[in-house]
Symmetry: C2
């Protein structure tokens, strides 16, 4: 299989260096020659202002591969659902302001026990958000999350679900985000990646460690686990995706690394395993 | 929805009282008026002999709802796969000896990174085991395990996969085991339960706790989590299953309970939530 030979498509998802502020992460990317960064809203909130964050990013020349995250649509009351929608509109505005064209959606868990109802709320939330996103030049990227997060983070757990929803819109309005950690085990993975052709809005890499130490914080550095990274990347490329490859790792050991060391390791693993 | 009004179908999966030996667990069931028990092979191995275990079970009058577990088919070498098959044949013999008609299959993880290949090894392993099981009056029950166990316990992660394999055989040869903990999140759950009509070889209950404390040991007592237990039971019954309902809970807090207390709690939660 074809190896990656340069870092043109590499993007640091900011959560991978969670101890770094946005200015620190941007500096680390520049020092390492990593051309892209994916931003998290809780990191933006630590900046003096959104304008300041925008200035920093524009001055850096870094490409913002995506903003994480909108979503969290299901809520127990109409009022709470309206608040979530307000927050989603703010996320769209921030994404546009920061110069990315993708807002990643983590769609949210059920408010109670009714997972089917929560899935309807997600569909309704996306339908409501699409026109606003479109008017800001923002594509919504539905990211299916691993089924182990169904009760706490997202009721969209399979790429087939993300495709089912995305196909109601144009590929420019709604796409899907393929994160290997969430989907690697799915028997329908390659079929669903092919189905998403023209609609893939992002590709995220990490690895699945064995034994898996923790539900949330157990992601591994590429090459440390069992995910067939190269095979999945080539499937995503065969489906027409040639955009940024985000490295997104929730793992305390990775978080405790020095930022420059972490980026050096990411770069070597990227060429070797992704 | 219709509530359960008695304990006729209740079966204690032995792992739920992991600190108890087989004689202790059997005694606890008899004291509590729980008519069924599901046995684990590592507990049988602690008995002086299989004959002794059989005598104990027959004398107790308890119904053995299943034996856990066969499976673990994928292995790196042909020799290792043969050893696994030998062990599966022993499991079949033990199941027959103990008077149950169901051997639960936990199909095993990939030996390396190739999950598709591992799934083929599972299919081949089941194909090889079926005639031997049939000749002993044993039905193989394919239990899909939650996708978070794909790398460590089973590459069969969806009820659709279990159905795909089971449908190659008669319902008496191969069935599927529905464990709510593994399948509750699946968007295709009710469709796949209906598809399994006549082929459901077991039904296991517990609950999915939020927040989820641990991948393996994080199962909850029925009623402590978000699983729509009654809705799933009724779907399973609509698919023609009226057999034992096993309570199978991997959880240190449950394991540390006194056996009689644990069974009393199981009984009350069973009527209230299952």
């Amino acid at each position: 299989m074809q190896e990656l030979t340069n870092y043109e498509r590499l993007s640091l998802n900011q959560i991978t260096t969670d101890r770094l502020s946005l200015p620190e992460a941007a500096d680390a990317c520049l020092r390492a020659g990593v051309p892209g960064i994916a931003l998290w809203r809780h990191k933006l909130a630590q900046m003096p202002s959104l304008a300041e964050a925008r200035r920093l990013i524009r001055d850096s020349g870094l490409r913002v591969s995506s903003l994480c995250r909108g979503g969290m649509f299901p809520a127990p009351t109409p009022e709470e659902r309206r608040k979530r929608m307000d927050d989603n509109r703010r996320a769209v505005e921030e994404a546009a302001e920061l110069g990315t064209d993708v807002l990643v959606l983590v769609c949210g868990p059920a408010a109670g026990k009714d997972i089917a109802d929560a899935r309807l709320m997600v569909e309704e939330g996306i339908a409501e958000l699409v026109p606003y996103a479109e008017s800001h030049g923002i594509r919504l990227g539905i990211e299916p999350l691993h089924p182990m997060y169904a009760a706490e983070r997202s009721v969209i757990n399979l790429l087939s679900q993300a495709n089912d929803i995305a196909e109601r819109y144009t590929p420019e309005q709604v796409g899907v985000v393929v994160d290997v950690f969430h989907v690697w085990w799915d028997p329908a993975l390659y079929e669903q990646i092919a189905r998403a052709a023209g609609r893939i809005a992002g590709y995220h890499v990490s690895d699945w460690i064995v034994p898996t130490p923790d539900l949330l914080m157990g992601r591994g550095m590429m090459g440390d686990g069992v995910i067939e990274l190269r095979r999945i990347r080539q499937a995503v490329e065969a489906a027409g995706y040639s955009g940024p490859i985000e490295v997104e790792i929730f793992n305390h050991a990775v978080w405790e690394m020095d930022g420059d060391e972490s980026l050096a390791l990411i770069k070597s693993r990227y060429l070797e395993h992704v």
